[in-house]
């Protein structure tokens, strides 16, 4: 490998056989290029889907009531189920230790929201102080709802950044301003920030206030939970499924619903959804790997083919060299040295080129479910080495045969 004379001999050969070298190089470089781009997009899809799921806390479990579809214990189907504070509290006492954050949710309907003379058409929701964490909202300014607001039925409101920009654009800050919700004044205490603008067009008020002022009862529409984060994804899914099942069976008993009546009490777990997506991604990644490996195999076959042709083409030259005193091993090493050199250079060229494209273009790709395609450098490097080793092995056998052909036969080769 460090024989300077042989390096010179090889550079001479390469310089004078440009087309042959170029073809070998292109087949190796394109193999690596395609593999890296494919793996990059596989990773990009994974990033993209992870990004979509990060918007809300991934361990979120939501429950909302529906209408019964089955007769149970003498009760007719078609009965509307209504969740109440009592349900929320019982769940807390039963499963409180299993959850991280919890909050009831009320959609406040049939209200008019005004700021001064301006009518605001935004949804109003009553929530508890944990809800910001469940919703993954970020505080833009002011503060979130706190325990005091809930316990003391405070007339305070939290608005989305979009509302601030639309309605309070003339003010430095909307905090301290009052909005009028169906005749009751609420003081704005904070502005929150969401990844999606749609979710910023909301006004949050304490759930207790919402019940007392607008609902007149202990009704709630929806309960959201998040579960503590678990490192292992499968464990996290198992935990979510268990919690979901417990939650549903408790609520089914509390509301006298048939255990197999899934539409009366609906429970949704983000993790289960995520699991489906992640297994989809895994399949896609597997497919990309499969295609990539096939590409590499095609590259190896291409390299071997070219090596075979190269050796065939050089049979006479090999005969001449042998007549002049070349030993068999020096012939084999000469051919292999050239093969390794060409595959290595073109392999790395393909690697650098494709990684460069991913680095430069990747961050600008704005397609749904594809975010920042990139590839693990070590994986790409390993494939280059696989290709080099495969090319070497593929080149060795023809080289060995050529080095051992009878010199006379080699010289007669036309």
């Amino acid at each position: 490998m460090f024989d300077l004379e042989r390096w010179q001999e090889i550079f001479d050969t390469i310089r004078k056989n440009k087309l042959r070298t170029f073809l070998t190089g292109v087949s190796v470089a394109s193999g690596i290029f395609i593999l890296v781009i494919l793996l990059g997009f596989g990773q990009g899809m994974q990033n993209g889907i992870s990004y979509e799921f990060e918007q809300d806390a991934t361990t979120i479990v939501e429950v909302w009531p529906g209408v019964t579809t089955k007769e149970y214990k003498g009760l007719n189907p078609g009965r509307r189920i209504q969740l109440r504070n009592e349900n929320y509290e019982t769940v807390n006492s039963l499963f409180g230790e299993e959850v991280e954050y919890k909050s009831p949710l009320i959609f406040v309907r049939n209200v008019n929201v005004n700021y001064g003379k301006e009518a605001l058409v935004y949804g109003v929701r009553g929530v508890s102080y944990d809800y910001q964490f469940i919703d993954n909202a970020k505080l833009h300014e002011g503060r979130f709802l706190n325990y005091q607001d809930i316990a003391g039925t405070g007339k305070v409101a939290l608005i989305g950044k979009k509302i601030k920009e639309d309605v309070f654009k003339d003010l430095d800050t909307p905090i301290g301003e009052h909005i009028n919700i169906s005749g009751v004044l609420f003081k704005i205490i904070g502005v929150f920030d969401e990844r999606e603008q749609r979710e910023e067009e909301r006004i949050y008020i304490p759930v207790t206030t919402a019940q007392k002022v607008f609902n007149g009862a202990d009704y709630i529409n929806n309960i959201s939970y998040t579960l503590p984060k678990v490192e292992n994804f499968d464990e996290a899914v198992a935990q979510a499924v268990l919690f979901k099942d417990n939650l549903r069976s408790y609520l089914q008993q509390a509301h006298t619903v048939a255990p197999d009546d899934t539409s009366a009490i609906q429970v949704w777990s983000a993790l289960e959804e995520a699991k489906r997506y992640f297994s989809l991604i895994n399949n896609i990644k597997f497919f990309f790997w499969f295609v990539g490996i096939c590409t590499i195999i095609a590259g190896v076959v291409g390299v071997s083919n070219i090596m075979l042709i190269v050796v065939k083409e050089r049979t006479r030259e090999i005969g001449i060299r042998k007549a002049l005193g070349a030993k068999p091993w020096s012939i084999i090493l000469m051919i292999l040295h050239e093969a390794i050199f060409v595959t290595a250079i073109s392999g790395f060229a393909g690697l650098i080129f494709s990684m460069g494209i991913l680095e430069i273009v990747g961050p600008y790709i704005e397609v749904d479910y594809v975010v920042n395609p990139s590839v693990n450098f070590n994986v790409a490097l390993a494939t280059v080495f696989v290709l080099i080793v495969a090319g070497t092995i593929a080149g060795f056998f023809p080289a060995w045969r050529a080095a051992h052909i009878h010199t006379i036969d080699a010289l007669r080769d036309e």
């Binding site: 004379e5 050969t13 004078k16 030259e317 001449i320 007549a323 002049l324 005193g325 030993k327 010199t407």
Partner: protein
């Protein structure tokens, strides 16, 4: 220089075997210029291949400059060829992507001589064959006679004990043939031992001794009065 005793060689052609050399005995002294003549199929090329260690005899002795040549493996044969023998072929056998100079320098590469020394020496031998100013041309840019002279320079560059030429004028017209033979005679005059395989009588007459081969045996071995090629050019 060369001692050959009772050399036999046969080739297997399917089920029957072809007995090509049937007991060859002859010796060559240092400084001789020997022509080996015979019609095609007489075994002259086979003899030359055995002498050149490109092929091995089935039976018999071959001693080159006091060294018995037998039981050769490829590496050993390669070494001997490199040190002791220079080859000149009918079809020149130059490497087509190497310049004249690089072709001549190639045997020295296998002697592991440093690049600079190789080039100096190769240039010196190219000068001897009168092609110094063609040293950076590719074989495709040279005429047949020039190619053969490059091949002769290449055969000479390693300073071998014996030069083996196989129909070296076979691909050349007669004027060029005589020019090449003049060069061979000049090299022989310097004391080099040369064996020429040919089927052309005029070429054979330019050697000092003619060995006639027929059906694998030597039928006639005579010293001749050398015809100087210069007279014909």
């Amino acid at each position: 220089m060369i001692e050959i005793k009772d050399l036999h060689k046969s080739y297997k052609m399917g089920s029957n075997s072809l007995h090509v050399l049937k007991g060859i005995n002859f010796s060559v002294e240092e400084g001789e210029l020997v022509a080996i003549m015979g019609s095609s199929g007489s075994g002259k090329s086979t003899l030359l291949n055995i002498l050149g260690m490109l092929d091995e005899a089935d039976e018999g002795e071959y001693v080159l400059d006091g060294i018995p040549i037998k039981n050769l493996n490829e590496t050993k044969a390669a070494n001997y060829r490199n040190k002791f023998l220079g080859f000149i072929f009918q079809s020149f056998n130059l490497i087509n992507y190497k310049t004249a100079l690089e072709n001549v320098a190639l045997p020295l590469y296998y002697q592991k001589l440093p690049r600079k020394q190789r080039q100096e020496k190769a240039l010196q031998y190219l000068e001897q064959v009168g092609l110094k100013e063609w040293s950076h041309h590719l074989p495709s840019e040279l005429s047949g006679g020039q190619k053969q002279r490059v091949a002769i320079a290449r055969a000479m560059v390693a300073e071998p004990k014996v030069l083996l030429a196989d129909e070296l004028t076979g691909a050349l017209d007669s004027t060029t043939s005589y020019e090449v033979m003049e060069l061979i005679q000049k090299i022989n005059d310097q004391g080099n031992t040369i064996l020429v395989v040919t089927h052309e009588p005029d070429i054979a007459q330019m050697c000092k001794r003619i060995v006639h081969l027929k059906d694998g045996v030597i039928v006639k071995d005579e010293k001749v009065k050398q015809v100087r090629a210069k007279a014909h050019v």
